[in-house]
Symmetry: C2
Subunit: 467 residues, 2 copies
């Protein structure tokens, strides 16, 4: 075990799972990461950059930008991706970029952990990488490690935890801490301290869904900045509890993680890679609606059903989709409308898609959409529930006005690893996102796409800030 205090190596058998994970991370070299993993990480990073620019005008982002400028330094080596010309310390860059990339609900999702890893890993890793002045390959390695920690923690904490906590935040802070520790070249004990300090701050409640307030961005922003904090203070001697996930008073025990799956923490290290399992979001709504959208669109195409022909839609789904989305079913704001199965399927029915430009203030006022929304029902399906979260499947049942009933199931949503986006689709989505965020300089957009393509060869990773 890589220990700075000269204690003898512990045997693998006597180590905690968290210690085995940190030991693996501390010893990982860039060359051990398969090239397919690096290629996928670059695509995920590009996708994340687009989300970050798309979300920049949101009130949560603007208030955190102001906070960063009031409380932080006037300049620094870390960029705000959405605000070219503003630089700061990595702590505040991680915070603002973490908020901005989780506004438009287009950032990736890792199915079996139920978390959005990009929005909690890339903000911390980019900000710290820029501060320490590392290379593209060092940055990519830190991102790969951040994904492992965040996704494995999410898989470990599981479904019951997700019912109580927005686990992108609670697992995410561990990913941000790990990515930062990697960039600060921490030993295994430093990783453990950073995780301990990150995990004891893990937080994020779903209450905001009930009144459409802004905590979703607070959660990702703070997961990023708290992870940065945890790793920096760990490198300066602040000791964190060494078994924060599995310990008697730790996260599993105290954060409602009944039926936790700790075996996910250290299984198949170096054999399976979280970045390869993450889904790109094609539709611009809550990820729990995606398979339903795909099944619904396939069904109306296959049976040539016009949206005016539809009397009722039943979306058969798993328990957690109902638990989370029933909080937003009224769809009173644009953000809530992406969390309402009825509204989302109404949009899909009317437009044949559910893209970022389809969710607007005008759409909220559309009486046709509102009428359709009321005719959609979510129904718990025991088999679908048993497959979740490894599989986010859906079955759609449409009853037409003439009384015919049609049904269609999908096992994976567009963007899932089994049905992934092509590079062209990812770049098209990226262009749409930055355009949505107000970017006009398409030469710069091309430049960014090319720069990300060759990221592992870059000696420095500044220059990602959009005007």
């Amino acid at each position: 075990m890589d220990q700075s205090d000269g204690r003898p190596d512990e045997s693998l058998a006597s180590m905690t799972r968290t210690a085995r994970l940190t030991q693996w991370a501390a010893a990982l070299s860039y060359d051990e990461i398969p090239s397919a993993v690096i290629e996928q990480t670059k695509l995920l990073f590009l996708d994340w950059l687009g989300c970050c620019v798309a979300g920049r005008s949101h009130a949560s982002v603007q208030s955190m930008l102001h906070f960063a400028q009031t409380m932080g330094p006037k300049e620094g080596r870390s960029e705000l991706v959405s605000f070219a010309g503003v630089t700061t310390s990595p702590y505040f860059a991680a915070m603002v970029n973490g908020a901005s990339s989780h506004v438009v609900e287009q950032d990736d999702l890792h199915n079996s952990s139920m978390i959005h890893p990009a929005t909690v890993v890339f903000p911390a890793a980019l900000a710290v990488a820029q501060d320490v002045g590392c290379s593209g390959s060092d940055f990519l390695k830190a991102c790969v490690i951040g994904y492992e920690f965040a996704c494995r923690a999410g898989e470990c904490l599981g479904k019951e935890h997700y019912k109580a906590f927005h686990s992108t935040a609670t697992a995410g802070v561990l990913g941000a801490a790990a990515a930062t520790t990697c960039l600060l070249k921490g030993t295994s004990p430093v990783y453990l301290s950073a995780l301990g300090t990150a995990g004891t701050q893990a937080a994020g409640l779903w209450q905001f869904l009930l009144d459409a307030t802004h905590s979703k961005q607070v959660h990702t922003a703070r997961a990023c900045s708290n992870g940065v904090y945890a790793a920096y203070v760990a490198t300066c001697g602040l000791l964190g509890p060494t078994d924060i996930i599995e310990g008697e008073k730790g996260m599993i025990a105290m954060l409602s993680a009944r039926n936790a799956r700790p075996e996910f923490l250290d299984s198949k290290l170096g054999q399976k890679w979280a970045v390869m399992e993450s889904s790109f979001k094609w539709h611009a709504s809550c990820r729990h609606t995606h398979a339903a959208i795909d099944a619904f669109l396939a069904l109306i195409e296959e049976f040539s059903i016009g949206w005016g022909d539809i009397e009722q839609v039943k979306a058969y789904t798993y328990d957690l989709a109902i638990s989370i989305m029933s909080l937003s079913e009224k769809a009173e704001t644009v953000h809530q409308s992406k969390f309402s199965m009825g509204f989302v399927l109404a949009v899909a029915a009317k437009h044949g898609q559910a893209m970022i430009t389809d969710f607007t203030e005008q759409a909220l006022e559309d009486t046709e959409l509102r009428d359709f929304q009321r005719r959609v029902e979510m129904v718990l399906d025991a088999e679908i529930d048993s497959l979740f979260p490894e599989h986010w499947t859906s079955r759609i049942e449409v009853t037409t006005k003439t009384g015919s009933v049609f049904s269609k199931s999908v096992d994976a949503a567009k963007g899932d690893p089994q049905w992934s986006l092509t590079r062209d689709e990812i770049e098209t989505k990226f262009r749409a996102l930055v355009e949505y965020g107000g970017e006009k300089n398409m030469d710069f957009v091309d430049e960014i796409i090319n720069k990300v393509r060759r990221l592992e060869t870059e000696a420095d990773i500044h220059g990602f800030a959009f005007v």
Copy 2:
């Protein structure tokens, strides 16, 4: 209801308890606060200043100081109480002062909420008050309000929550947010947003007690700085969930608060004051040991028992004392030794007191103390348990080497409101604390004592930083 968006007043009856509390706070004027409350707040502030200086050399404080200087601005209007000459933004000042004042276990405790309010309210209030440049009376009002929110939240969340979470942090962040909102002159809806954003970040696990790591200071530091963050972003338009405490997906529901007591949130507003209910800590150990120390010292004095005469000590106590302190019973570090009933009573037996200078690295090596420690046992007492947390009582039973058995109970510990410290004792304790922290300039110490005595008349509240 004081609302900035022009919506009509809601009736008191239809408001949530949290909304009633924020409405009361937003409308409170300094003149409505009884002078006894102001006098007590000043004493608590002086006591807090001493704790802050006493803790300044701890590794957690030093690492956060370094973090603040790396991530924050080079200067600002807020002072670090323990590091004269270093100024920063209120966010980082709240963080470092919040860590430093919770190191030596001498900061106050509010019995029925089970939280340490000073270390989460004063750091935020002082840092923000210095930043906005307000008067002593404005500062004191904000502190009074911070105490109300933190202590009422702690009372509301209750014992089961405290078993899972270090509630000084989870309730404390609400107090820090409220004190900051007061200084930023927030309306009632701004208070609600600030509380929502603070509450959704509420965190702090007891895992650190198991390996004597540094999360206790992380928790208070982050409660302070997260509270400052929540209030500042709320004033800039970031909306927080409006019913974060009682809501369906809020703190009571999700943070293990079975048997919560929400009626504490808004009962007797303006009639009872949390600052009047807080206990000064006389002994330098975990507050759960204090009544036991007092009963034990009274017993050995009354029956003239020498410490060498004692064969066994039984400390009858409540469930939570056993739950928390059993994690530290080995007393492997100075901090853990203050959380070990056996070690603490050994110190009291040997020295006739348990003061800050009695808990040292040398004491950990003292074989006499270690031998005595092993002869102390905590025993659950149903009646004592039923009185907790309103009363932190204890019964001590001593068996001598000759086989005699003596017993003594106390209903309140020295420093409790019913047995409070005199002004002289508080000032003596303050001098001891700053001396412990290395302060040599006793003229400056006198100056601080005098300045705090007349704090409500001060036009500005800078000048509290110790060299």
